[in-house]
């Protein structure tokens, strides 16, 4: 069992700024202290620092309106930062008062609505960015791109004659054709249905891998982010709250927001003792030496559905089944404790529990995530587990 090093630190900036600026110089993209507001006094982005290494895929993840698209547009050069600097391969491209225009940045972008030019064929769209290339190279590159996105048969079609998935692949090929230093994807899958989305996600991933390109992708869909990203940048209200690998973000979320936004997390009240934390689901051992100073005896402990097990009558804690939903090949149960606190548990599909039934469960966390108790905090809004984290388009 490991204990999160970021434990109890509600401010993420400490961990973020610990990576030195010198590291960032070797990055494809690095930015420091980026701030942006469209109306005075209403910041959209606050003090963002981000370094992207060559070949990585970074997902900007956050709820709607957290500023992730604005950050993308700053990187592309469509907006000017109010403060901070952006470097693309060691070259200063943005700072207050100076912006290298987008056409001089060699940054490819795929837009949410794809922005295909409706009056041009697939070939013409893909070749649009190659106008400075010699004709022979242009032809070769077009063929290469068409093969990459598997659209050789559609070269002469117009965008409106293509399906949504095909349109997206054209947009991708068009952005990749001029061999940009960096590729930006703005909610690339939001216009597609779930089946297509999953299929395209895999396709896009393989295309990006083949192209070997550094990519920044904006999404509000955590499943998408977790499956595509090498690095996750979780944003909340204009701030970058955690920048780490998906694994790290899931196992060691550094704020309550991240803990609840990624994965299905609920909090249990806990009481801090010498070497254990007492919760309603039993006592959890912990090593106080690994933990920075604890403010008080009251803490909240993160509980993930994967870590809850059913047990026999003689052990565990009694709970009541509130709700059931299939989730892939398993079932997600919403359970209620005697105190009224609800949490989620993931059991095999063969387990059949009726709503209202009383069962007993135990809890074995693999990573202990503890935050100082926030009595003033509003408890989680839903007392039911969502059926699917990507349920938006499916329903």
């Amino acid at each position: 069992m490991t204990v999160s090093p970021g434990l109890l630190s509600l401010e993420a900036s400490a961990t973020l700024t610990s990576s030195s600026w010198e590291d960032g110089v070797d990055s494809v993209l690095s930015m420091q202290q980026i701030g942006k507001s469209f109306q005075p006094g209403v910041p959209v982005l606050r003090d963002i620092a981000l370094h992207v290494q060559s070949g990585q895929t970074v997902c900007l993840l956050g709820p709607s309106g957290c500023g992730k698209t604005t950050l993308l547009r700053l990187i592309a050069g469509f907006e000017m930062p109010d403060q901070g600097e952006i470097y693309l391969i060691k070259r200063l491209v943005s700072r207050p008062g100076l912006v290298v225009p987008p056409e001089q940045r060699h940054v490819g972008m795929v837009f949410q609505d794809y922005a295909l030019f409706p009056h041009m064929t697939v070939s013409q769209n893909i070749q649009f960015g190659l106008f400075r290339w010699p004709l022979a190279w242009r032809r070769t590159r077009l063929a290469e791109m068409l093969r990459l996105v598997d659209l050789e048969a559609m070269a002469r079609r117009y965008p409106h004659e293509l399906s949504g998935g095909q349109q997206q692949r054209v947009a991708l090929a068009r952005a990749l054709a001029p061999a940009p230093q960096l590729l930006l994807l703005d909610e690339p899958f939001s216009n597609l249905d779930v089946h297509l989305r999953q299929q395209l996600r895999a396709e896009v991933q393989s295309i990006l891998a083949q192209a070997g390109i550094t990519t920044i992708l904006v999404t509000h869909d955590q499943e998408e982010a977790l499956s595509l990203a090498d690095m996750l940048a979780v944003m909340d209200q204009g701030a970058l709250v955690q920048y780490a690998t998906p694994d790290e973000v899931v196992r060691r979320p550094c704020t309550r927001f991240v803990a609840q936004f990624i994965g299905l997390g609920h909090f249990l009240r806990g009481e801090l003792h010498d070497t254990w934390i007492r919760t309603e689901l039993g006592s959890i051992p912990y090593a106080p030496a690994l933990v920075s100073p604890m403010p008080g005896p009251q803490v909240d402990v993160l509980i993930r559905p994967e870590h809850v097990q059913l047990c026999s009558d003689h052990c565990g804690t009694p709970v009541q089944v509130v709700h059931t939903a299939f989730r892939g090949s398993r079932k997600l149960y919403t359970l209620r404790l005697a105190s009224g606190t609800t949490f989620c548990a993931l059991f095999a599909a063969e387990v059949v529990l009726r709503t209202g039934e009383a069962v007993r469960v135990t809890w074995q966390p693999s990573d202990l995530v503890v935050f100082a108790s926030a009595d003033s905090c509003v408890p989680p809004a839903h007392d039911r587990c969502p059926r699917s984290s990507t349920g938006r388009a499916a329903l």
């Binding site: 110089v25 592309a76 050069g77 225009p101 001089q104």
Partner: protein, 553 residues
Amino acid sequence: MVSHPGQVVSASGVQGGRWVSIWSLLALTIAAGVSVPLLAVLSSFLTPAGDVWRHLWQTQLLELILNTLGLLIGVGVGTVLVGTGLAWLVVYYRFPGQTLFEWGLILPLAIPAYVLGFVCLGLFDFTGPLQTLLRGLLGAHLRLPTLRSYWGVTLMMTLVFYPYVYLLARAAFLGQGATALETARSLGRTPLRAFLVVTLPMARPALVAGGALAMMEALADVGTVATFGYRTLTEAIYRVWYGMFDRPAATQLASGLLGFALLLLLVERLSRGRARYIETYRRGTGVTPTRLHGWRAGLATGACLAVLGPGFLVPVGQLGVWTWRTVQAGQLAPTFGTLLGNTVYLATLATAGTCLLALVMAYASRLSVSPSVRWASQCATMGYALPGSVVAVGVLLPLAWLDHTIVAWLAARLGQSGSLLFTGSAAGLLFAYLVRFLAVSLQTVDASLTRISPSLDDAARSLGAGTGRVLRRIHLPLLRSGVLTALILVFVEVMKEMPATLLLRPFGLNTLAIEVWQRTADAMWQEAAAPALAIVGAGILPVLLAVRLSVRR
């Protein structure tokens, strides 16, 4: 190592900024140039003209203002109702003749109001064919209500100006696609209610723009109201100018008229609000028209005929008959070919110039967020609301001053005086056309430019295209139909334009419109028919071109 590429960045960074400011600068220059005549008219307020004002107020000013207001309201309501209604029928329904009407309903655009006016007066005259026929059928005491009234003038103008609304409304309905309408129907609205609560509000910018154009036309018209004896402000300016030769008083009235024009512009801008109506290109299905049967189909066909008949078919037929008689009698003026050539020449030059300037202005206001460019483009559209005669005065005053300055300078330098550079050539007239018709092309180009999603610009720029290339490769091709509409509208407008031509034409340069004016002033209907028919015919050609291109699209 942190490098210091600040110098490199500042060079390219400034370049991006400079492009924007070049466009803004161009827009501001055009706006300034176009505003010169307006300022010249406004400055007439500084010349004391108290006596004239007192006289006007005592005799007719209130009546003139009320008449003008009444006409504007009547024409505005009439054209929006007729234009929107017909566009709705043609886009959403199939009925006998629908495909013909779809483009045929644009045809009245080729007929100037003053031509329709004199043809109808000729037809409805006591001695005209209609009354003669009715008297023969119903008895000698039959009297029809006179056309020389408020309702007559409003009807004439509605019949010829509704295509402004029709064209824009139809384009807006087609551009919306079916998705919004179907969403509304899925939410329980009937087709009619869905049209009223979704389609119409979405098309509102187009409808209001069309209505504003029609009302500006009505405000500028001199020929019709003069022939019908309906007294408006514009007509009074004309009378003061020619009757009393009192140029200061005429310009005083003109500056008062500017108030009406500003009011119209304000209405147009306010109703658009701050909303940016952006239409991503049609991904969903287009509109699927409903087929009408039985009496409904008959009613639809009848409605189209009821507008197209008196607005185009009957007057063109009558003009044809009169022209035929003239040719038969060998009375066709020998100068006819020259008149036609002059007209087409002037119209082509003015149209090309106007649309080029409109493109620059519209593009500048898309690129620049600065309010000064927005303001400039609004300034540039004011000339259209002014009557041609007033624009002519506004053009004449500064150009005459310029000419005389140049002549004086030449005389001082070379010891000999040259000819008058601007007022002596067609340059002044072309300038007046630019001032007057920039609004037509700018509104059309601007409307279709705002329909292009900004993400297309962004996509092109992220692919390395500079502003110029974005304009050439993305906007111009996508704007083609919009620019074409603008070209057609301006061409037809210039051909019809009468008062400014009358005042500014260089000596000896006559056009068809002037010929019509001179003949109708003498009530020689039949003699005016041939040049009028030529104006109508030339006006039809671009309309047909528009039809071909819109079909191919």
